[in-house]
Symmetry: C2
């Protein structure tokens, strides 16, 4: 099935070689996404106190245009963070270069960067790459754009979803780059989504915020963000039909499709965590509410000892319960039950006799599911992570060079 | 210089082989510390919702005796956590075995365990080990006891400090086992301190709580605790002199010596983090208050990307600033300065030109100091961590076997 940011109608994408990391890096490292017609836009950004210049600029543009952007320009290789005034100047010049190539005003452009923090940004190189990307814009350029924003990702991440609204089929497409870690620490997560549904800016913002909470934020941990984390969505209405506001019958349909696309990208990011050999899905049930369940799930998925045990295919369930115990959410450990895949390994907070071979097989799957029932409340949530391997350390011990 | 729990007068220690992890583990795995005369006692315990049976029991004994314990019995190899009622029964039998051997009542005994969570506790083996440890009690048994509580520690951790009070020299001694991680996640930290100073239980508790906040809790992270974390201190008054209460002139002298002993043990725990090749000291200055400074310092010291960069001797200062940015403490990144050892690498939140070779040499030291100035406030604090190596993953991928 076709997917990516050019899957919805009226969107073009392309990429260019700017050699932002130097001449040795001979690959596309600038991506451009363009809506052929005016579009609504919404964004969710890092909560880190340290914010990259592109994040500051894109928020400024969303405010100035009241959520009406036409294009996204993004680069890999340099985060343009902690670069002071010259960093902001570079981000503005990226927007200006894209605006010139697309015959738009600068404030219609979103800018995003990912890569090393605190290194001077080679803006002249980036400008040349943007011009090249604009020349190559096409209706099937989604994949080349998705590859251009990769850093330590091992595969490009794209998605698609559709929904019907008033007799018309609308599409949602998206691309993302993974964070270095499965629970982004300082590595950057970027995700760009497109839709041809006619969604108003306020409805777009509401749907994006809700989807991010259940998807991208279930991969990351609150506050554990890079200076560059950005999730953006553009809606150009090319599918036609009546405008979708928050009270429209089409709103829940659109919101569900957007969440589906975000979840798919989130799972791809988790599966591609640095050094990961498997996706770890942590499901928590029986909490007082969804938010508490998610907090426990994220804490378990983040635990280095749980991650290392999964890597070693070791059904060391005590680490799961103990990680839950420091999530900051009240529950009674003496009533908790734990499952590794389909295998129940603990009940009432203590060990069950279980088939170690069967549990080992569950842990050897490419998608490992850990399930924790913490009580009889109605709150349930899922978080996604990966295992922790020696390869992770190798990648991060000398990332800059 | 002599050190350890038998450095202060009137304390004996010993160890026995209980083979708690099985017959292949032919080493002392039960430790006993005994005061020859009645002693005051105070303890600080895990804040995890999941609490081991020994933690529950020791708190109960401290309450019942109003802080008057005589002995500590501790084992490695099994945490006796998540074992339900049989776990509590095993902890009581450990106390009973020590009480019988020492001719005390059970409630004068503190119990501590460390090892795998959720495995049935082999209490009969432990009882035999306790009897053997009691037979071997001696005035220079501190070191053998310190070795008996090791798990993945690569060296035994002991300390000593002295102070003068009313013309008498008083001693503080201590031993600890490290956590698996430098910022204990689910691995256990145990520390036992002794003093021959005549400190009243309430003063002992106050001094211990204050010292732990600045030392052991600057190695761990709030809430990031094992079910077994325990810091205990016994004061037997054998040095003589007037009782030390919180208002005594001797109190600040004792408190300072206790904190010094706790800091030394904390640094040893950090240096011996699993797979660590160096100690990382993170110093934060210029915060609004000490607690905020400590929160930032701990967040930086905990960051896997900072730890991996130190391991690679990579002066990637952006990771330090960005980790500080998600500590949850307000500060202005655009005013922050960063030093790697003596080398200034960033000022006003952006890069300084610096000598990479000099920074690399600072990072190659056995004790790496990262310093972050976040403003002009008076709050300063230090946290201790270590680097993150591939060896950490190897150790934790299959810890149980």
């Amino acid at each position: 099935m076709q997917k990516g940011v050019t899957f919805p109608r009226g969107f073009l994408a392309g990429a260019g070689k700017a050699r932002i990391k130097g001449d040795r890096a001979d690959r596309e490292d600038v991506a451009l996404i363009y809506s052929e017609v005016p579009a609504s836009a919404a964004g969710v950004f890092t909560r880190n106190l340290v914010r990259s210049a592109p994040v500051e600029l894109t928020e400024e543009h969303l405010r100035r245009t009241a959520g009406r952007l036409r294009a996204v320009v993004a680069n890999s290789g340099n985060a343009n963070a902690c670069n002071g005034l010259s960093g902001m100047e570079a981000a503005r010049r990226m927007a200006a270069a894209a605006a010139a190539a697309l015959n738009l005003t600068e404030d219609r452009i979103a800018v995003a960067s990912t890569g090393v923090v605190g290194m001077p940004f080679p803006i002249a190189k980036a400008e040349a790459g943007i011009a090249a990307a604009a020349r190559g814009l096409s209706g099937d350029g989604g994949s080349v754009a998705a590859r251009a924003i990769m850093t330590t990702d091992t595969f490009a991440k794209e998605t698609a979803a559709t929904f019907s609204c008033g007799g018309r089929v609308c599409s949602v497409g998206g691309m993302a780059k993974g964070s270095g870690m499965i629970h982004p620490d300082m590595a950057t997560m970027l995700a760009f989504l497109t839709t041809d549904a006619p969604v108003e800016p306020s409805a777009l913002h509401l749907a994006l915020t809700a989807a991010v909470k259940r998807t991208f934020n279930a991969v990351t941990v609150d506050g554990d963000t890079s200076p560059n984390d950005t999730v953006l969505v553009l809606a150009n209405g090319v599918a036609g039909g009546e405008a979708i506001g928050t009270a429209s019958p089409g709103y829940p349909l659109f919101a569900a499709a957007l969440e589906e696309a975000c979840r798919d990208l989130s799972r791809q990011i988790a599966r591609d965590g640095e050094g990961a050999t498997c996706l770890v899905e942590v499901r928590v049930e029986g909490a007082d509410d969804e938010e508490q369940a998610r907090r426990i799930a994220r804490t378990v998925a983040r635990s280095p000892l749980v991650k290392a045990a999964v890597h070693g295919r070791d059904p060391n369930w005590g680490r799961i319960l103990v990680a839950a115990g420091y999530a900051g959410v009240p529950f009674d450990p003496a009533r908790a039950a734990i499952f590794i895949g389909a295998v129940p390994v603990a009940r009432n907070g203590t060990a069950l006799p279980f088939d170690e071979a069967a549990a080992g097989r569950e842990l050897a799957a490419p998608e490992v599911c850990l399930r924790l029932v913490v009580g009889d409340g109605g709150g349930a949530a899922t978080a996604w992570g990966c295992d922790l391997s020696a390869e992770y350390v190798r990648i991060n011990a000398d990332y800059r060079s």
